[in-house]
Each structure stands twice: as C-alpha cells, then as structure tokens.
C-alpha cells in the first residue's frame, strides 16, 4: 500500500513537471491579430430585440460583414460611432452590432441619440460569447468576407484610416 502511495505521488509530480515543460514551448501570447486569415467559428448569439439566436453562418448571405462590438458605457464606442454611420451607406457591407455587457435601456438610448448603423443587432450580456470571436476589449470590429474568413481586425475605435481601409477591402473605393 505504502509503495503504491509513493508511486502515485511521484507520478503526479512527474506529470506536473511534464506539463510545465510542454507549456514552455507553447506560444501563449494572446494576440487576436493572428485570427486574420482564419475562418470564423460557427457561433450562436442572441438577438438584441428578442429571445431568438442568430448563427454566424447566416452571415454567408452578405458579400461582406463587419461585426462591431460596442456598449453604451464605452466612451471610445461613442467616438467611433460616426464612422459606423458612414459605413451604413455602403452597399456590399452589412453591419452587425454586438452589444457587449450592457443594459438594454442604456443601449437603446445610445442608438436613439446617435443613430443605429446596424443591419443586425445582437447582444452578449455576459461578455462570454464575444470571447469566441477573439475579443478582449471593446470597441473591436471584425471584417468578414462571404466565406466567413476574417480579412481585417480592428482593435480599439475605428478611425478615418480604418474607414478608408474597409472601403478598399470591400471594393467601394
């Protein structure tokens, strides 16, 4: 019995050391920029206005999709809003807004005050779904093509140069 316990203790330690050793060789810098060029996973996310869920697969119907993560409490989101309103005018681009960790009432007021640029409006109340998109702060935006491949990622508020870049990518410039 004692021998068995000794062996188990030793094996546990060997196992831990092995895991440590393997993780040394892993790249653990979390950088969502690496996601560019990869296909977006199929993610179910709740609609803002009702209890229905929307699957990201449905974005296939659009030539291009820009998923924007925002919240009413986020100052930089307010700053980037005029750019989103301009992008709304684009023909081949559908804007998807994911309202992130927000109160519905505040989010509604935000869109009433500043305008609603989003063709599709979704919500992520707990902020957990957004993690699957590789989001770690807001605002962030992801530009997808028809194959749902991420062609561009914008961390932080969209600025004039980003606007130009998006128009270029979707061939409207």
């Amino acid at each position: 019995m004692q021998k068995l316990i000794k062996s188990i203790i030793t094996i546990i330690f060997i196992f831990i050391i092995m895991i440590f050793y393997i993780s040394l060789g892993k790249d653990n810098s979390y950088d969502t920029v690496n996601l560019v060029g990869k296909k977006l996973d199929s993610i179910e996310i709740q609609s803002f206005n009702n209890e229905k869920f929307v699957n990201t697969k449905s974005f296939k119907d659009n030539s291009f999709t820009l998923i924007n993560f925002w919240a009413s409490w986020c100052g930089p989101c307010r700053a980037e809003h005029p750019i989103l309103m301009n992008l709304k005018e684009s023909k081949s681009l559908i804007l998807v807004g994911v309202n992130f960790k927000d109160k519905k009432k505040n989010a509604k007021n935000f869109l009433e005050d500043l305008g609603n640029p989003y063709g599709i409006l979704l919500k992520d109340e707990s902020g957990k779904k957004s993690i699957n998109f590789g989001i770690y702060g807001i605002p962030e935006s992801i530009l997808l093509n028809k194959e749902l491949v991420i062609i561009e990622k914008f961390v932080g508020p969209l600025v004039e140069e980003d606007y130009e870049k998006i128009l270029e990518e979707i061939g409207e410039k």
Binding site: L24, Y30, R78
Partner: protein, 627 residues
C-alpha cells in the same frame, strides 16, 4: 569597469560556496564537536561579497553606466535617484541578485544564531543552502547576468516602465523576497533534519523564528503589492486573483499552516513529518511561483520579458529540488504512533492546517488549470474571481469559527466547559450584524455569515485579551494576530457590501448627480514634470446629505522614456471611507470618462494586515526573550 568588478564578485561567490560545502563536509567527518572557525569566516566573507556585488549593480544604476546591458535596458538618466536605485531589482536579472543576497544572508544568520543545536544538523543545513545558492548563481552567470557589457556604449537608456515607478513597488519585491526566498532556510533545515535524524522538538525551536520572519515579510510584501495595485492600477480593487498574486499567496498558506503545526511539534513532539512536508512545500511553491512568472507561462502585470531558456533552467532546478526532497522524505518516512485526541488543541491546529491546505489547493488548481487545459486540450481559458469567491468565501466562514474556538482548547485532552460563553459571543455577533443590516441595508446571506463569523472571532479574541490582561498571562502575539485577521475579513466584507461605483462621460463644466452626490468636472490643467507630462482633472465632489465638499485631481500621465500613457487615480482617504476617482480621455472627443467609487473602511483593511504582521513579529521578540 563595473561590469568586470561585478563578474569577478560573482565568480568569487561561486568559489566561496564550493569552499563552504567542502569544509562543512570535512567538519562533519571530523570527530570534533564544534564547527571549524574558518566556516564562519568564509560565510561572513561570502555575505560581504554578495552585498558588494549588489552595491556594484546599484552604483551602475546610480551613475547610469549604460555599458551594462541591464542598466541600459531598465534605466534612464532623467529618472529620479530613488527609482534608479529601485530599478536595480525592478528587472529579472537584478531581482535574481536579490534572491542570492537573501539566500546567503539567511544561510549566515542561521549558522550563527543556532549554536545550541547539533553540529551536523547545522552543517548539513549550510551545505544544502549553499547548493541552492550555487544553483541560482549558475543561473545568473550563464543565463541572466546583470553584469553583461554593451559596446559601443549608448548615450541614453531605455527607461523603467512608469507603472513600476512607485514607492510601494520599490519596496514590494525586497519584502516579498525576504518572505519566500527566506523560506529556503527551513527547506534546507528540513532536509538536514531528515539526513541527521534530528527530529525532536528542538528542531521546531531551531526553525520557528525563521518561519515567523518569512511569514511576516511575505505578508508585508503581499500587503504592499495590494496597496500598489489599489493606488496604481486604477480600478479600485486591491486583489485581482492575478496568477502572480496567487503565486505569492501559495507559499503564504503553507507558511501559515507551518507556523501553527510547529506549535504541536514544539509542545507535544508530534506531527514531525507533516512539519517537514510543509517546510519542503513552502520553498518548492516559492520556486514554482518564480518559474511560472519568469518563464512567461503566465501572462500578468508581473511578467518580465519572457525567455524560454530561463524557464528550462528553473524547471530543471525545481525538478531536482522536488525529486531530491521527495526521495529523501519517502525513504525516511515512518508512521507516528502517538495518539491525538479528537477533542484537543492538537486537533484544532490540524483543522487550521486542513483549511490552509484547502485554500492552497484551491488557489493552486485555479492558477494551474489554464496551463493544463492549454497543454492538454489546446483551450485558452482563464480562471477569475468568481471561481475563488465561490469556493473560498463559504469556507472562510467556518474557518473563522474554528479560529475563535481553537485557542481556547487545551493540549492533549480538552473539555468544553465554555459552551455558554461561545453561545453568548454568537449572540453578540448576531446582534451587531443585524444592527449593521438595519442601519446600512446589507444584502446576501453569505455576506451576513461572513460578518457574523468575523465578529465572533473578533469578540472571542477581544475577551481573550481582556482575560489575559486580568490574569497577567499574556499571549498577546496570538491574540493580536487573530483579532486582526477577524477585522481583516470584517472590513473586506463591509467594504465589498457598501462600495458605490459610478461611471460617467463628462465634458469640462458638466455636473452629474446620483444618490446623495454631485460631481463636477471643473477644469483641466496641463503640467510638465521631469520625466512626464500630466493632464490633471479638477473635480468637485459634493455630498449633499452631509454638506461635505472635496476636490479630487486624477491625472493622465504621458511618460517620455519609454513613451507610455498611465492613469493615476485620485484618492481621498479618511478613517471612514475612500473616495476613488479615475479619469481617462476618449479619443477624438471632448468627453472624459470619469469613474467614481466610494469605498468604505478601506484604510482599515491595510491596518488589519499590518496588525496581523505586528502579531507575528511580537512573537519573534517574545521567543528571542525566552531564548
């Protein structure tokens, strides 16, 4: 020049460690009952050299000698002198030198202060400690040498990360290192004790002050780190369950368990092997923590520029330590035959240890789990506060009750003839808790339980204090530590329950009101300092109910070297509450994001921890007096 001097000192240190090991071994083999005089002399020389080595590096920082890569990478001529000095240990290489200093000084002090213990036990401790020193010296020399030179010599350095330019952070590493590197000495002593079969209660005497010293400094180090996080990181919290904070907490749990179980070994000559296990795991957890932080496996505010080769070295060293001590322990282990009654002080001490082990395992699992899932399933996850709060908080409630009852129990066999007394204490705790709820409207059942249990502990310790003063039979150290711990939990609970937090986007001149408060962003000021520019907000906070007005000045700082933006919270502290205000700019807009927090009794959290440490140090003085 300083580079050469530093390297020479490092190499001489290697030679001295080898010499000490050689002479100690000779001395063990000799029949003489006393330790060779030259061992003391070489140890003293070794301590002097290591301090010399450290001062050489400090000198290089003070004169901004950029011929040293380390100084070039972490300093700048425009940096204030205080931060030039603290920059010495604010980086990976320099902090390793601090490791060596503590290993060496503790080794020397243990040798000279334990002269009433067996010769061989002391010498083996010295040998093991010097093997540890050599391990870290080789690490410094071959992988992380702070004295590497750079040519051609740059005119200017790269600077120190501005968030590290803070007085609390300058003393945080030395304090913490005194704690967990200090635990190396009882790791060495435990191995020496296994080798020499020195297992009596006098072994407990030989290490107990060292455990208390390391525990005290570890607690202080954690405290100062928390204060820094509260003042500097700008979101008003003081504990983040960041993996690296956890890494400092793990040895703390082991130390706390150890200093309690040492009491049993000392009084009853029991639990010897358990004490040895705790000695071994404390330092092993310290090195594991260092491995996790320095290898870059964990990402956190503490991660130095990571380098996998460092990780491999520390991991190899850690493996040798673990398997060496495990082999020895398993070979020497024999069952203790003495009986412990379930109703006795011994049992209560063991209960303390079970709780500590439970906390330790919880935090260990939470910290390592993301690493394991990443390796085994390729999933990147992080374990955050909800996990720790859910698992740890309910258990703290039970722990506090035991902590109140335990000290009352008698050694060997206890009889509970004071149940009525405890019922009265519980009643008092309930009354105070419900008055708090009545006046301040508290919330959940759990928070009530936390308040009740901490009050129970406070009251029980308070009556102990009164009682011992009346009977003039003092155990002031224990009473102060226990009462402080009760207060710590109570204040954290109250702070958590009654904090207010509000977020606004405001323009200059705008006024916002909420609850009883009115807050106005009056104006902004731009100031230029030696190494940064600051945008200073002038905010007026009015408490309408109390007719009280305060001005707070949060800052946005733009540092030059390296160019970095930091947000400095404005904090007004008094005995009842803290006002905590941060301000951040919103790109291309005239709005500023203002975060206002009212945090009740904040300062008492710090004071409770300081008192907890005071209790520990008081015990050291008392022990010294007895000796």
């Amino acid at each position: 020049m300083l580079s050469n001097l530093g390297n020479i000192l490092l190499f001489s240190k290697v030679l001295l460690s080898l010499t000490i090991i050689y002479f100690s071994y000779q001395c063990i083999k000799s029949s003489r009952e006393i330790i060779f005089k030259k061992i003391y002399q070489i140890s003293l020389l070794q301590s002097t050299l290591v301090l010399g080595c450290f001062f050489t590096l400090i000198a290089a920082y003070v004169v901004s000698d950029f011929s040293l890569i380390n100084v070039y990478q972490n300093s700048h001529t425009a940096k204030p002198l205080f931060y030039k000095i603290s920059g010495t240990w604010g980086n990976h290489e320099g902090s390793l030198l601090l490791w060596i200093i503590i290993l060496t000084l503790f080794s020397f002090l243990f040798l000279i202060y334990n002269n009433n213990h067996p010769k061989n036990y002391r010498l083996y401790t010295l040998i093991i400690q010097n093997i540890l020193i050599l391990g870290f010296l080789f690490f410094i020399l071959f992988n992380s040498n702070p004295f590497l030179s750079l040519s051609p010599i740059p005119k200017e350095g790269l600077g120190l990360n501005p968030i590290l330019q803070d007085p609390a952070l300058a003393i945080h590493p030395p304090l913490l290192y005194l704690g967990f590197v200090g635990s190396s000495i009882y790791f060495s002593a435990a191995i020496a004790s296994l080798i020499t079969n020195y297992s009596e209660k006098s072994f407990a005497f030989s290490i107990k002050n060292w455990v208390l010293i390391s525990w005290g400094f570890q607690t202080l180090g954690i405290l100062v780190g928390s204060i820094w996080a509260y003042y500097e990181l700008g979101w008003g919290g003081f504990w983040f369950w960041d993996p690296v904070e956890n890494a400092s907490l793990l040895p703390w749990f082991a130390m706390t368990a150890l200093l309690h179980s040492l009491l049993v070994l000392e009084k009853r000559n029991l639990l010897y092997f358990w004490v040895i296990v705790l000695c071994l795991i404390t330092f092993t957890l310290s090195v594991t923590g260092t491995f996790l932080v320095r290898s870059g496996i964990l990402n956190s505010v503490h991660t130095f520029a990571s380098d996998p080769s460092r990780g491999i070295y520390i991991l190899s060293f850690l493996s040798v330590m673990i398997f060496g001590s495990l082999f020895l322990l398993l070979n020497k282990y024999r069952k203790e035959n003495k009986l412990i009654y379930s109703n006795s002080k011994e049992t209560f001490v063991l209960i303390n240890n079970w709780f500590m082990m439970f906390y330790l395992l919880t935090v260990l699992v939470g910290t390592l789990y993301p690493i394991f899932t990443d390796v085994l399933t390729n999933n990147k996850i992080s374990v955050g506060p909800p996990f720790y709060n859910t698992v740890i908080l309910p258990v703290v409630v039970i722990f506090l009750f035991f902590m109140a009852i335990g000290p009352k129990a008698k050694w060997v066999k206890n009889r509970f003839d004071n149940l009525g007394y405890f019922a009265l204490l519980l009643f008092l705790a309930l009354v105070v808790n419900f008055s708090i709820i009545y006046f301040f409207k508290s919330s959940t059942i759990l928070s009530n339980l936390v308040i009740i249990s901490s009050l129970f502990l406070i009251l029980s310790s308070f009556f102990d204090l009164v009682n011992s003063i009346l009977k003039s039979r003092f155990d002031l150290a224990r009473t102060i530590s226990h009462i402080s711990f009760g207060f710590l939990v109570l204040f954290i609970g109250l702070n958590h329950n009654f904090s207010i937090e509000k977020d606004f986007n405001m323009k200059v001149g705008e006024v916002k009101s909420f609850d009883n408060y009115e807050i106005q962003l009056q104006n902004l000021e731009l100031k230029t300092y030696n190494n940064y520019k600051a945008i200073i907000g002038n905010l007026k906070i009015k408490n309408i109910l109390l007719k009280e007005e305060r001005t707070l000045n949060p800052e946005i700082r733009i540092y030059d070297n390296p160019e970095t933006l930091t947000y400095e919270a404005a904090i007004k502290t008094n005995l009842i509450k803290d006002y905590y205000l941060t301000m951040s700019n919103i790109d291309r807009s005239e709005f500023y994001n203002i975060k206002f927090q009212k945090k009740p009794l904040m300062i008492w959290i710090w004071i409770s921890v300081a008192m907890l440490v005071f209790g520990g140090f008081l015990r050291i003085f008392k022990n010294a007096k007895i000796n």
